[in-house]
């Protein structure tokens, strides 16, 4: 199990026209992922999703809070021990093209990490080949058909499977999938989503799924928790289907409204609304709801006081929470 408590990350300010003061990219974020469980983080570009994922994978420092793995606070561990734990957290990024060296075959790309492990375990070459075939089969690829290929000879979906196979070589306990399907052709996305779900069940791997697309989050973890973040803060969270079917926060409702409606099969939810304004950059004021400038339901109080998370299992931070029907409704034949 991996747990994060009151995580905070402040980046120093930047200069230039879009420059801004120091920005709290992650602000008081707490969650935990049980073994084999899934947690999804959804929110639009710039809300801090990647930063959370990179912190979990040990690639980014944090300014406050704790990351706890198997009961051990990572910050308090000696460097070596921390590195060993962190290796079991594997990051899968958005762009499978960039993640793979174009000059190396799939076999080379996968045997590199396997050699390291073989050395540690005193395993031989046969073990490496066996494991190579195993991980490729796990991700749904025919080893004989792909090991001699270079990345450019594969489709986007196949490439992302290779990246996942490479992550699996080290027997990870946590996969952080950061927009892992957004660069893949839509027709191929579902297969990769199902694979992630499968890995949870078969190997008790925990998945942190980061996306701006609510629907894909549902495919990886409809049984897990969904966190909606806005400007570094959690604005709503709960069981995935609970958040999708009974959203309370206007921002969650905007994200759900943004899912395309399939004309001919569905009609838009009666309360669907899409804010045309993009969110401004920079740090929101401490004493206001960060979403207030874009919120169609904002009242004077929203500009004066920051709403805190309320509720029990399903929580939301809004002065005027209200369930609205924004999700598309299936047409009955």
């Amino acid at each position: 199990m991996i747990e994060v408590r009151h995580l905070e990350k402040t980046f120093p300010g930047t200069r230039g026209l879009l420059g801004h003061d120091a920005i709290k990219a992650v602000n008081d974020v707490s969650f935990h992922i049980p073994d084999g469980g899934a947690v999804s983080f959804i929110g639009e570009s710039g809300c801090g999703k990647t930063t959370i994922g990179r912190i979990l994978a040990g690639l980014e420092t944090y300014t406050a809070g704790e990351v706890v793995m198997d009961g051990q606070n990572l910050a308090q561990l000696p460097r070596r021990q921390r590195a060993v734990l962190l290796r079991r957290v594997q990051l899968i990024q958005q762009d499978p093209y960039q993640a793979l060296n174009p000059a190396r075959t799939i076999e080379q790309a996968l045997t590199d990490p396997l050699k390291v492990i073989a050395k540690e375990r005193g395993a031989d070459k046969a073990w490496i080949m066996h494991r190579l075939h195993e991980v490729l089969e796990l991700v749904g690829l025919d080893p004989d058909a792909v090991i001699y290929k270079y990345p450019h000879m594969l489709s986007g979906g196949q490439r992302q499977r290779i990246v996942i196979a490479r992550a699996l070589t080290v027997d990870p306990s946590v996969l952080v999938a950061d927009e892992a399907v957004s660069m893949i052709d839509v027709s191929l996305r579902l297969g990769v989503l199902k694979l992630l779900r499968d890995l949870r069940e078969r190997f008790k791997i925990s998945v942190l799924f980061i996306t701006h697309d609510v629907a894909s989050a549902r495919y990886v973890g409809d049984d897990g928790q969904m966190f909606v973040i806005y400007k570094g803060r959690i604005v709503e969270h709960g069981l995935t289907d609970e958040v999708i079917l009974h959203p309370q926060h206007p921002y969650t409702q905007a994200l759900l409204s943004a899912v395309p409606v399939l004309k001919g099969l569905e009609e838009p939810g009666p309360d669907r609304y899409i804010p045309l304004k993009e969110f401004g950059h920079g740090q929101p004021p401490e004493h206001a709801c960060a979403f207030a400038p874009r919120c169609p339901y904002a009242q004077p109080l929203c500009g004066q006081e920051k709403p805190e998370l309320v509720g029990t299992a399903h929580q939301y931070a809004c002065h005027y929470p209200k369930e609205r029907h924004v999700v598309a409704v299936p047409l009955s034949e």
């Binding site: 230039g16 026209l17 879009l18 639009e44 570009s45 489709s155 986007g156 196949q158 052709d185 839509v186 027709s187 191929l188 996305r189 579902l190 297969g191 989503l193 199902k194 701006h212 697309d213 609510v214 629907a215 894909s216 549902r218 495919y219 409809d222 999708i244 079917l245 905007a254 994200l255 759900l256 409204s257 943004a258 899912v259 395309p260 409606v261 399939l262 004309k263 001919g264 099969l265 899409i274 804010p275 045309l276 304004k277 993009e278 999700v327 598309a328 299936p330 047409l331």
Partner: protein, 333 residues
């Protein structure tokens, strides 16, 4: 007042495409990127062209403007734009004037095609000059109105360089350029691909409302069936450089006929309904080998193939009111 007594607006311009063939000559061979396409783009509507990566959507769009880049070549066919003429036989200067004035376009990856060194406002003036616009002030005013209409701070955008804008802002600026000369036909190639869900929804909302306001003819190209299903009046499905199916959006979504279209629709991750109903599309996209076979282009991946499909390409034929399909199985019914 009955519908017939309303004053009838002049019919919006459409496009008639006949026998269009575009080939790329590469080291590996000839790629028939657009292979004998016959298509009528109806005026005053949004036509969505959907297909997976490499299916020839962008090539078709560029061919409509007679602007296919090297090493591509239009080998055959005609593209007749109402009010302009045949783009294949018009003189170069008339073609140039048609692009921008009659047909506005935002080519794929428009982010990069905005000039990085010139402020957006100056680019508007340059565009006006190259089309001999007399009243440049009025042109700037129109640019401003369009930007504000799209929820942007127009003064700030006009004095910005492209790198100072977010992806969603750049797409809106692209749309402004496509509309500012009052084109009646607008081609948008993957206008939302790099955007997060919320930016995508707002860009689509903008396209929808401007289209309604002005009765434009819009061609929307995307690999995302959801985007087309939400926005388009008609859907055209491309596969391997040919047309697989077309029809009214509601009809195609509710009753897809081509096995490929059915696969695409089943593969869309949804936010409601049974998770197991979604099925990933099997197989991989057509390659050079596929093109030289006589078989139906979808043969290798088709769950419903018959003996006949292996030896002939199915013709693209009428399959109901406003519907066309290229599939032997459908025709046999």
């Amino acid at each position: 007042m009955s519908a017939n007594s309303l004053p009838t607006a002049p019919p919006a311009a459409g496009i008639t495409i006949r026998g269009l063939e575009v080939v790329y000559t590469t080291g590996q061979g000839q790629i028939p990127a657009v292979n004998g396409i016959n298509l009528d783009i109806v005026g005053g509507q949004i036509t969505g062209i959907i297909g997976e990566s490499g299916s020839g959507k962008s090539t078709l769009a560029m061919a409509m403007m007679n602007a296919v880049p090297h090493p591509g070549k239009i080998v055959k066919g005609s593209v007749i734009i109402d009010g302009v003429g045949n783009m294949m036989t018009l003189d170069k200067e008339s073609q140039r004037r048609a692009r921008g004035r009659h047909v506005g376009f935002v080519f794929q990856a428009a982010q990069n095609s905005l000039n990085p060194l010139t402020r957006i406002g100056h680019q508007v003036l340059d565009l006006g000059r190259s089309h001999n616009v007399k009243d440049l002030r009025a042109l700037l005013r129109r640019a401003k109105e369009l930007l504000e209409r799209m929820g942007m701070d127009a003064d700030r955008v006009l004095t910005s360089y492209q790198h100072e804008l977010s992806g969603g802002m750049r797409q809106r600026v692209g749309i402004m350029f496509a509309l500012v000369l009052d084109a009646q036909i607008v081609i948008l190639d993957e206008p939302t691909t790099a955007l997060d869900m919320l930016s995508q929804a707002s860009v689509l909302e903008i396209v929808r409302s401007i289209q309604e306001e002005r009765g434009l003819t819009i061609i929307l190209i995307t690999h995302d069936m959801g985007v087309v299903a939400d926005l388009a009046d008609r859907v055209i499905v491309m596969y391997g450089g040919e047309l697989a199916e077309e029809g009214k959006t509601e009809d195609v979504l509710a009753h897809p006929q081509h096995p490929y279209t059915r696969g695409l629709i089943r593969a869309i991750p949804r936010i409601s309904g049974n998770l197991d109903q979604a099925v990933a599309l099997a197989g991989s996209p057509p390659d050079l080998q596929t093109f030289v076979q006589n078989a139906c282009l979808f043969y290798d991946r088709c769950p419903e193939r018959m003996a006949q499909c292996q030896n002939h390409r199915p013709p693209y034929e009428i399959a109901g009111p406003g519907r066309k399909v290229a599939c032997f199985k459908v025709m046999a019914k």
